[in-house]
């Protein structure tokens, strides 16, 4: 059915004439400057209580089923992930091309222990099909994040060049690396910041935003909780407190 025809049926159901005035809805009316002001306020608030937010994130994330490690330094974060890879007997690790890895010498540490490291990004030179197979067979997926939300114990990843949808999804273990400046208080903060990003990018907020708040889980058989039905069986959150 044509859009116009469909919308006319809706208008008829509502008893609204064609060309009725557009709805007046406050959250839609915030223009770029106002939204920027809100974003600035949110950033300032998060900055002011960063330590508290990180502690809250760690607590709630643990309740949500993450294993949380608060790393005092980048070096210790690398050590933790390396130990995890060894513990899991991982032979192949994939990671995203997130800038956090410029600060975390993970590749060298893993390779030094004979673990194959692949970057799930076209910039690595591998073909798309190769990458897909590599990720599907990897033992560990390590990614940076764009945001972390203390309220829900979530990490948030926006898909873009260098950050695939599959790297945190297909391997049985996902390690999310969180940096302090990415931690925000609430879902409201997150959506306000995303709206800011949208206004700055001429209406394109990117194709995919994923909030991850624990391991894949189900209770579909006899209401019994089982983790790891489709996505990662185990999720680890490494908060790098530098």
């Amino acid at each position: 059915m044509k859009q116009e025809e469909f919308l006319k049926r809706v208008r008829d159901a509502l008893g609204r004439p064609e060309g009725a005035p557009p709805p007046d809805y406050l959250p839609l009316k915030l223009r770029r400057e106002d939204q920027r002001q809100r974003a600035v306020t949110i950033e300032a608030r998060a900055e002011a209580k960063r330590a508290q937010l990180i502690a809250r994130l760690a607590d709630v994330a643990a309740l949500q089923g993450w294993k949380v490690y608060r790393a005092p330094s980048a070096q210790e974060a690398v050590g933790y992930i390396l130990a995890l890879a060894i513990e899991k007997g991982a032979r192949s690790v994939v990671r995203s091309a997130h800038p956090v890895f410029l600060r975390l010498p993970l590749d060298a540490a893993l390779r030094g222990h004979g673990v194959r490291v692949s970057v799930d990004a076209a910039s690595s030179g591998a073909s798309r099909e190769q990458l897909r197979v590599t990720v599907a067979q990897a033992d560990l997926g390590v990614t940076g994040v764009d945001y972390a939300v203390a309220e829900t114990g979530s990490v948030v990843l926006a898909a873009r060049p260098g950050v695939s949808r599959r790297a945190p999804l297909l391997p049985p273990v996902h390690v999310a690396i969180v940096e302090p400046h990415q931690v925000y208080e609430s879902l409201d903060d997150l959506f306000a910041l995303r709206r800011m990003a949208l206004l700055e990018r001429e209406g394109d907020m990117g194709s995919y935003l994923s909030l991850i708040s624990g391991p894949s889980r189900t209770a579909d058989i006899e209401q019994t909780l089982v983790v790891g039905v489709h996505g990662p069986v185990e999720v680890r959150m490494v908060i790098v407190e530098t």
Binding site: M1, K2, Q3, F6, L7, R9, V10, A13, L14, A20, P23, Y25, P27, L28, Q64, A121, A122, R128, L131, R132, A136, T152, G153, A159, R160, P161, V163, R165, R166, S186, L187, D188, A192, R195, L198, G203, D204, G206, S207, Y208, L209, S210, L211, I212, S213, P215, R217, T218, A219, D220, I221, E222, Q223, T224, V226, G228, V229, H230, G231, P232
Partner: protein
């Protein structure tokens, strides 16, 4: 899906006689409903009430301007590089999906959980057109293998025991090493992982669609939603037209309500926001994104001021888990896609009241559904509205038999007159004498009265009425003027 809503009494009786269904249903109160209460307890009652009121207000506003917001949503989905298809009924929607599949040479479809796709009977249509279609939510996968329909909106296979699931997997998937729940889940994981990687098309439902950004949002715990929307080269999302919300910010309200009300979680494992197909420089994701927006009877709810509120529903199933009727008769008795209290409201409008006239009566009107509903939908009020329409409808559609109508007219006469009531009492006391034992009438043999005592005892009339006890033994103040002697209009 073909409704068999006319069979409610028969299907309900079957469920009542099935001990396994009863055992599964008994777990809903201790499982989902307790988890819900616990999760709500984590935030202050004021905050919870504030969220509910905000959500209601957003829904009210959005539906009032639904045409505008659907137009805005469509515009932004297209701007993101996706296609939008409008469908007035299930048939049109299914034809649209089938056409997309054919045009792209699709052989294998993986599906996330979607109640709208159940309305469309999408699996059956795709399968009969030669497109293999696999449900990937564990519960949906189980009922697909069993050839059944969802028993519950959130947990579709809640009525099956692990032994049944094991036998089903054994039969359909071959040898099983172990039959415990984690092993069964692992079997499903391994089987479905291959399907995800091979599929050409992923179909998902939509929990919320954000008009200002052209984004569809999918709430899941298993991760099958992420798989279905990330791995295949085509993503088709199907949504009922009421799922639109105006602004990104509105998600903060709804994503706090839905997981808590549905499964008692502060957040589900995954909340996935899809805004069109992959961009050229993205690493992965579908090349095509299609959004199918469906009416299928929702327009009738929208046009009906008494029932429009039913479109506020976010399908959390909290009303199912609390309902004393659902928790006895289960999901299949309702005979269509949406069971429980909310199903008893929307189904009669969507499939037609004459076909589903038993459903509005499948309620005790206790009001628990309204109390737990995160949107505070006044389900009992709407059930009464529908009962009224059944009672006042054309005689052929009425539920009541001629003797029920006659009985109630007589009852009304008797109740309106003190003398008539006293006389009726004396007659009834005489008539019940052979049947009453120990204050109860256990069995009446004469239909239609025997239907009452088939499942319950009827309290016998006591020898002395309250009125008599009061007058003779209890009264300390002067008598009041009898009802019949008072002036009209002050008698209440």
């Amino acid at each position: 899906m073909q409704p068999h809503t006319q069979q409610f009494p028969k299907l309900a009786a079957q469920a009542l006689a099935n001990p396994q269904v009863q055992a599964a249903l008994a777990g809903l109160k201790t499982g989902f409903d307790q988890a819900r209460q616990h999760a709500i307890g984590e935030i202050t009652p004021e905050d919870w009430e504030h969220l509910r009121d905000r959500a209601r207000e957003i829904k009210r506003h959005t539906l009032e301007h639904l045409d505008s917001y659907l137009a805005l949503l469509a515009e932004n989905v297209r701007r993101n590089g996706g296609s939008v298809h409008f469908a007035k009924d299930a048939q049109e929607a299914t034809a649209t999906v089938l056409e997309i599949a054919h045009r792209n040479g699709v052989k294998l479809v993986v599906k996330g959980k979607s109640m709208v796709s159940e309305e469309m009977a999408l699996n059956r249509v795709l399968e009969s057109a030669g497109v293999e279609t696999v449900e990937t939510d564990l519960g949906e996968y189980i009922i697909q293998l069993a050839g059944e329909t969802p028993f519950h909106i959130v947990a579709p296979a809640i009525h099956k025991s692990k032994e049944e699931v094991a036998a089903l997997f054994q039969r359909k998937l071959g040898a099983l090493e172990r039959a415990d729940i984690p092993s069964l889940t692992r079997t499903a994981r391994e089987t479905l992982r291959q399907k995800f990687l091979q599929a050409d098309m992923g179909i998902s439902g939509v929990n919320f669609a954000v008009a200002e950004t052209g984004t569809v949002c999918i709430v899941t715990n298993e991760g099958n939603g992420r798989m279905s929307t990330s791995l295949p080269r085509i993503h088709v999302a199907v949504m009922g037209m009421e799922k639109v919300v105006p602004a990104l910010e509105d998600l903060g309200v709804f994503y706090r309500l839905l997981p808590r009300a549905a499964t008692g979680q502060r957040a589900t494992s995954y909340f996935t926001l899809v805004s069109g197909p992959r961009r050229a420089a993205d690493e992965d994701g579908p090349e095509q994104f299609h959004l199918v927006i469906l009416d299928n009877g929702r327009g009738r709810l929208l046009a009906d001021p008494d029932l429009r509120e039913a479109l506020y529903c976010i399908r959390c199933a909290a009303c199912l888990n609390i309902c004393p009727v659902y928790r006895k008769v289960g999901g299949h008795a309702y005979g269509w896609v949406y069971p429980g209290p909310i199903g008893a409201v929307v189904t009669p409008v969507m499939v037609g009241l004459p076909k589903a006239r038993d459903l509005p009566f499948a309620s005790t009107l206790c009001g628990a559904c309204r109390d737990v509903c995160p949107l505070k939908i006044d389900i009992p009020r709407m059930l009464l509205t529908l009962r009224h329409r059944v009672a006042e409808g054309p005689p052929a559609q009425r539920k009541a038999s001629w003797y029920e109508g006659l009985g109630f007219r007589l009852w009304g006469r008797v109740m309106a007159s003190e003398q008539a009531m006293a006389r009726a009492r004396r007659v009834a006391l005489f008539v019940q004498r052979p049947f009453a034992r120990g204050g109860h009438i256990r069995r009446l043999h004469l239909p239609p009265l025997s239907r009452w005592t088939r499942k319950r005892d009827l309290p016998a009339l006591p020898e002395r009425s309250f009125h008599e006890i009061w007058e003779k033994d209890l009264r300390t103040s002067p008598p009041v003027v009898p009802l019949s002697q008072r002036a009209r209009g002050t008698g209440e």
